[in-house]
Amino acid sequence: MPARNSAATLSVAASGGGLRLRWPLRRSFIRRTGDAQAESGLKRAHFREWRLPFWLLAPQLFILLLFFFIPSIRALIQAFQLTDPFGATTQWVGFQNFARLFRSSVYWSSVQVTLIFTLAQNVLTLSVALVLAFASNHILRGRGAYRTVLLLPYAIAPAIAGIMLAFLFNPRVGPVAHMLQGLGFDWDPNRNSSHALALIVMAASWKHICYNYIFLIAALLSVPHSILESAYLDGAGPIQRFLRISLPMIAPTLFFLIVINFVYGLFETFAIVDATTRGGPAGATSILVYKVYQDGFVTLDLGSSAAQSVVLMALALFLTFAQFRFIERRVNYSV
């Protein structure tokens, strides 16, 4: 659980850019507190006294405390303990849980699976979303209908998406699996690790393409028409215009989506894996966040699970840091 919570905070942090107060709103706040100088510098404190900002922040801080800080601290403590599930016996064991984790070949293979999964999921999601955004941007008739249809999967719960795909691709009863087998492809995710991995990549991407699509279509719409028109007059075709003009101009959105997709793949795909493959066969789809759940809640190995979530937490912190440090700084958001 702590890992999920940290993921939630992370995604809030990652989308922080979007949560900032918009300019007119900011202005009204400043007026109300009566700070005339504040308009000059954005980073200066705008409130003269502490009470109002405190109460404004309190609900969010309380939620953070309850769902992030307390669980994180407990996970941190538990990572250094060996404990009975009921809490009857607890021993401090220092770094034993971590040592065991890093010694375990199962853990390293889970790291490997996670890497392949997140990368594949990222590439697939982004490229399909890009193609769809490009295509639907060029359709004039029924554009709205296409967009609505493309956005629908986002409304489907991950568990349902997972079960649906597991069923469609089930080698014994699934219609898609039968089609694949009819084409002479020996599809069997129960006996073939790469098929199982492909299945969860598909399930996770399918669910997340729409999210990428919204951002991409918005970015494409904001590409100035004047530039596109002048390129058109110079004889550039639609694909050339897309690759040479639109793509570079939406690069900031692409970077943002890459980070978001990593965060999604690393921390938010638990339900999909649980519903589609349950980490099997033979641990072939046991990604890190699923392993935290399985070791903690199925096999009751609390120490190891806590140690794993601490590792994931560190990874989440690193990603947040990386996003703010490298991407936010270098990418120009004002397209």
Partner: protein
């Protein structure tokens, strides 16, 4: 105003009286993991008890799978809101015993004046759930694996019934596939470490772990990477890779592939009778578990679950729990439960009663599990398993064995890895529970 107040007072009095009468019966909560038809049987059972007397009310709450019930119980216990009774599977025995959260059943029943005579229970149940002759939990739903088969398929392939030994059965399965009778001669059950490995070792009388499979202490080690068990996993791998044995995979329950008529056989818990009776539209039957040629087969071991009494409740609640357990152990209740669910009767009296009714003449497959459990005197290898951290070990074993099925590693190496992962978890359990049983 005055009539209003008096009306209010009257309403209050009625309310209080209502509360008082509701509180007259002691209510206890019972968390269980029975879903579908079995869940309905639990509700019926509880209703029978509630209707049989006025002092106690048992409230049955389905809390999901065994893992989910256990997790829920742990969370509730840590928050000091535990129910009175939880159903937990046989695998969790040591976790429950050493949790510090439970009141041993023998102790409870002695305190409440319903002393339990363990000799009334069938041997594999006692050896699993009792320490030094004292029951730690109340045996509830006990099962054991048997071999269900599609008689139509066997006839079509020219066989009367499955052979008693693996040496006879294997060629039959191959033939069913080769003759095109069925594309799936057998389906691998989801709990195969129980039916294909643990029970295999019990029936064929070979050790699974040292110290009588952990019965004699926590300093036990796994030894299933030697001898016949390696051969068994090799056999399973051969059946899987030749397509004779199919894996159901995510999204379908293996028994469904048998009841739909797609797969010809399945080794599954005798409690699958409920599902088979309800869904199979063909001529089916069942036989005892296959064993190795030349072996005189021992009893199989139980699966299923038992009821655990949690600490921290008032004396009246314990009185209610004892009354409920007493009701469960009654021969009538046992016979009904056995016939309604497919689980085995846990007392010999209940078995004799069902037999006297002529029940097994009409339903011969219902007796297989009982006979198989009571076959001979349990040997050191067929008493049961007392393994700490068994959930972890279970997952590790399944992962390694399926790695062998997937050709990720040779069978011997997979079993060696399973043993070393299992031993590591055993050592950790020993470290944490030093000095306990």
């Amino acid at each position: 105003m005055r009539p209003f107040y008096s009306a209010l007072a009257g309403a209050g009095a009625v309310l209080l009286a209502g509360l008082a009468s509701a509180q007259a019966a002691t209510e206890i909560e019972f968390w269980h993991a029975m879903s579908g038809a079995l869940g309905e049987r639990v509700d019926e059972l509880v209703k029978k008890f509630n209707d049989s007397q006025k002092d106690y009310v048992v409230k049955a709450v389905a809390k999901g799978t065994y893992d989910e019930v256990l997790n829920g119980t742990i969370a509730a216990y840590r928050a000091k809101r535990q129910p009175e009774i939880v159903q937990s599977n046989e695998r969790s025995f040591l976790t429950m015993v050493n949790s510090g959260a439970i009141l041993p059943t023998s102790e409870l029943m002695a305190q409440q004046g319903h002393p339990i005579d363990v000799s009334k229970f069938i041997a594999p149940v006692v050896s699993y759930y009792a320490i030094d002759g004292k029951l730690q939990a109340m045996p509830f739903n006990s099962s054991t694996p048997i071999l269900f088969y599609n008689r139509d398929h066997f006839k079509a392939a020219g066989f009367d019934k499955p052979g008693a030994t693996w040496q006879e059965l294997e060629p039959q399965l191959d033939a069913i596939k080769a003759k095109g009778v069925s594309k799936c001669a057998m389906v691998l059950p989801g709990d195969y470490e129980w039916s294909f490995l643990e029970n295999y070792s019990a029936v064929n009388d070979i050790p699974y772990a040292t110290k009588r499979n952990g019965m004699d202490g926590l300093d036990t080690n796994f030894v299933f990477n030697k001898g016949k068990l390696v051969g068994q996993v090799e056999r399973m791998k051969r059946l899987v890779s030749s397509g004779v044995m199919q894996l159901a995979g995510q999204g379908i329950i293996p028994i469904q592939l048998f009841t739909s008529g797609e797969c010809s056989t399945i080794i599954a818990s005798t409690a699958s009778h409920a599902a088979v009776v309800a869904a199979a539209k063909f001529d089916w039957s069942a036989v005892e578990l296959p064993y190795e040629q030349g072996v005189s087969p021992r009893n199989s071991v139980i699966g299923g679950a038992a009821l655990w009494t949690l600490k921290g409740h008032t004396p009246e609640k314990y009185k209610a729990i004892a009354a409920f357990y007493d009701f469960l152990a009654k021969t009538d209740t046992q016979v009904w439960w056995h016939q309604a669910t497919g689980y085995v009767p846990v007392t010999t009296a209940a078995y004799d009663a069902a037999k006297a009714q002529g029940y097994y003449q009409k339903n011969p497959t219902r007796e297989i599990a009982v006979l198989q459990l009571m076959r001979g005197t349990p040997s050191d290898n067929s008493l049961g398993f007392r393994i700490g951290n068994s959930n972890q070990i279970n997952v590790a074993i399944m992962e390694e064995v399926s790695a062998a099925f997937l050709d990720k590693k040779p069978v011997q190496q997979a079993l060696d890895d399973a043993v070393s992962r299992g031993d590591e978890a055993l050592r950790r359990y020993e470290q944490l529970n030093a000095g306990k049983k």
